[in-house]
């Protein structure tokens, strides 16, 4: 009886999966940074799987490094070992994965980097980067903030605090760099009085903001590496009854969008994980199809503020 059931299952599986396997043209492996740590990454994973499922030519092996660079390198090796057709990598560390990426290239497997780019030394070993331009995002956030200060007429005296993302994380570094580079260009008299990391974590950002509020009597603007932290900072300001602070973030989250609608949060950068995931998959497919893919394949991440938010749908994450 048991053997029979097993046999039936086996036959059924072969019948069902055999043809599917045979038809699949491309097997694409992806190793992500840290799914489940925030909604962006979770939505990204879901969108990626959906997009892969929708495409009958693609079979996806979806892995998650859990934020651990050693595990990610192991996963790249696993994918090489499984001889996939292409590898998409969301680097946990933009430099540490370069040798692993080189191994993939040496094995004849094209690599596409997604979301957060690897360092320049590795550019020789990848086919394309697909994702947002985080430096530009940082610059745009600076512009949003500066424009608002100009509207308010405080561009010569305003004081800003800066809550960055996870230390060491490329996205965090690039956004912070873009912001701090651009702000003096557009608003030379605005002073960034303090910078502390909020680790992409709303609660941590809230604590950091609480300390800022105690420490500085005059805070006119807060720039956070993403909306998740921005909302944490907003909560702190609300609890301390400090009104009139301009909050600008990046990666517009649903909570940030709502806060904007409520008039409490000024602006952000609209970046859709669904676009991000689809772009990555499409880039990989294009590479495999032999099409000409731009090396830096940025998808657009526009400014969103209270003024123009009606042009955007509310983010799903």
């Amino acid at each position: 009886m048991n053997t029979k059931t097993l046999l039936t299952t086996a036959v059924a599986a072969t019948v069902l999966m055999g043809p599917a396997l045979a038809m699949a043209e491309y097997r694409i492996g992806i190793t992500q940074n840290n799914v489940g740590v925030d909604s962006y990454q979770t939505t990204y994973e879901r969108a990626f799987i959906e997009a892969a499922d929708a495409n009958s030519d693609v079979r996806a092996v979806v892995l998650d490094a859990g934020g651990d660079v050693a595990r990610q390198i192991a996963q790249v090796d696993d994918l090489i070992q499984q001889n996939v057709d292409a590898i998409i990598i969301w680097p946990t560390n933009g430099e540490a994965v370069i040798p692993a990426v080189r191994r993939a290239q040496n094995a004849g497997i094209p690599v596409v980097v997604t979301n957060s780019n690897i360092a320049e030394q590795g550019f020789d070993f990848i086919r394309s980067f697909s994702g947002p331009d985080n430096v530009t995002q940082g610059r745009r956030s600076a512009e949003i903030m500066c424009d608002k200060f100009k509207d308010m007429g405080i561009e010569d005296e305003a004081q800003v605090v800066h809550i960055t993302g996870q230390p060491g994380y490329t996205t965090a570094i690039e956004r912070a760099g873009g912001f701090e580079e651009r702000l003096p260009e557009v608003c030379p008299n605005v002073e960034v009085v303090d910078t502390q990391p909020g680790d992409w974590n709303r609660e941590k950002a809230q604590q950091v903001m609480e300390a800022f509020l105690t420490q500085y009597d005059d805070i006119d603007g807060v720039y956070s590496g993403d909306d998740n932290m921005g909302v944490g900072a907003l909560n702190a300001a609300r609890a301390a009854d400090r009104d009139g602070i301009i909050f600008v973030g990046a990666t517009n989250f649903a909570v940030g969008y709502d806060a904007m609608a409520a008039g409490e949060y000024w602006g952000s950068i609209y970046q859709s994980p669904v676009d991000d995931a689809r772009a990555a998959l499409q880039t990989a497919i294009d590479v495999l199809d032999g099409e000409d893919v731009p090396f830096l394949n940025y998808f657009d991440t526009p400014k969103i503020t209270q003024d123009n938010m009606d042009q955007f749908t509310k983010p799903v994450f």
């Binding site: 740590v37 979770t42 604590q207 909560n235």
Partner: protein, 323 residues
């Protein structure tokens, strides 16, 4: 003569060392930054320590009973995510008790493994740290949980509300600390916790049920974690799956700083509260002085070791171990 005097100094330091350190830090920080002792700041520190503090109260019971609980961080994430999710599905009236029941279920499971099956608490809670994180991710599908309509619920009361100008988290922390402090110091149950942690064999020979006592300690810990999750959820009205990650070690650090021995049988709620406040004020003080957050790591390291060292050198009557 000098020897006796130094011994007395050691004894005083050992008994009141934590308090002395506490006062010392307060003085240094308030000299360094005039805002430090402002009422606003004090309130803000206690409020932000409240979540960690509430968890530490429960862990104090577990540690005194001679065990460890490394799962409180991921359990707190679980409570937070669950109550936020259920808030929109069931409404706050049902969501809160349901979340408490589910968290107590997890605590009960750990208590069963450690109490009744007598499995090693370090490994069990280490395993549960990972397992509960997986459970949370499965529950939420990895998505952040947010209350859809934040302005139209009384749920924010636990994290944002105030009674007579005092923030509710602080009130909850104080009430729970008072209640658990009395439970530990003044009731038969508290006595049993000390006995089971101090000498489990002698406790068994005195007719004290070790299994049930340990089980109850984990239930208390889970109750505290659920409360912490409630405050957290209510305060931010939305959360990531990893909100409590790493808190287990901070909590443990506070409990140890308060002088509870990991061998069990010693420690008090009051001392744990002091431990929590020290950690909170160090964090806040350094932030106010504009020092990077990681300096706090190094200082916490030094303080923990000094505190425990002082404590045990008083017991053995000398500073250094020779053998």
């Amino acid at each position: 003569m000098a020897n006796i005097a130094s011994k007395q100094v050691l004894t005083v330091l050992g008994k009141q060392g934590i308090l002395i350190a506490f006062v010392l830090f307060m003085v240094i920080f308030s000299l360094a930054n005039s805002n430090f002792l402002s009422l606003d700041n004090l309130q803000s520190v206690i409020r932000s320590s409240a979540i960690l503090g509430v968890m530490a109260l429960g862990v104090t019971f577990v540690v005194i009973s001679g065990n460890l609980d490394l799962s409180v961080g991921s359990m707190m994430s679980f409570s937070t995510i669950v109550v936020l999710d259920l808030h929109d599905k069931l409404g706050p009236n049902l969501a809160i008790p349901t979340m408490y029941l589910m968290t107590l279920g997890l605590g009960g499971f750990i208590g069963y493994l450690v109490g009744y099956l007598r499995l090693n608490s370090l490994i069990v809670t280490l395993g549960m740290l990972s397992a509960i994180h997986g459970l949370t991710l499965t529950y939420s599908g990895g998505q952040n949980m947010d209350i859809a309509d934040k302005s139209n619920t009384w749920f924010g009361f636990f994290g944002r509300g105030e009674i007579f100008g005092l923030p509710v988290p602080i009130i909850l922390f104080i009430l729970l600390a008072a209640f658990l402090g009395v439970l530990l110091a003044k009731t038969p149950f508290g006595r049993k916790v000390y006995a089971v942690g101090g000498n489990p064999t002698a406790a068994a020979f005195s007719g004290i049920p070790r299994a049930r006592t340990v089980f109850t300690c984990y239930l208390i810990s889970a109750f505290c974690v659920a409360t912490a999750g409630l405050i957290q959820a209510s305060r931010s009205m939305g959360s990531q799956n990893t909100v409590g990650q790493g808190l287990e070690l901070e909590v443990l650090a506070a409990v140890i700083l308060g002088g509870a021995s990991l061998l069990g049988g010693s420690g008090t709620i009051f001392k744990t509260v002091i431990g929590i406040l020290i950690l909170g004020f160090i964090q806040n003080g350094l932030l106010l002085m504009g020092w990077p957050f990681y300096v706090q790591f190094v200082i916490t390291w030094i303080i923990i070791i000094l505190a425990v060292w002082l404590d045990i050198s008083v017991k053995r009557g000398k500073l250094w171990v020779s053998n």
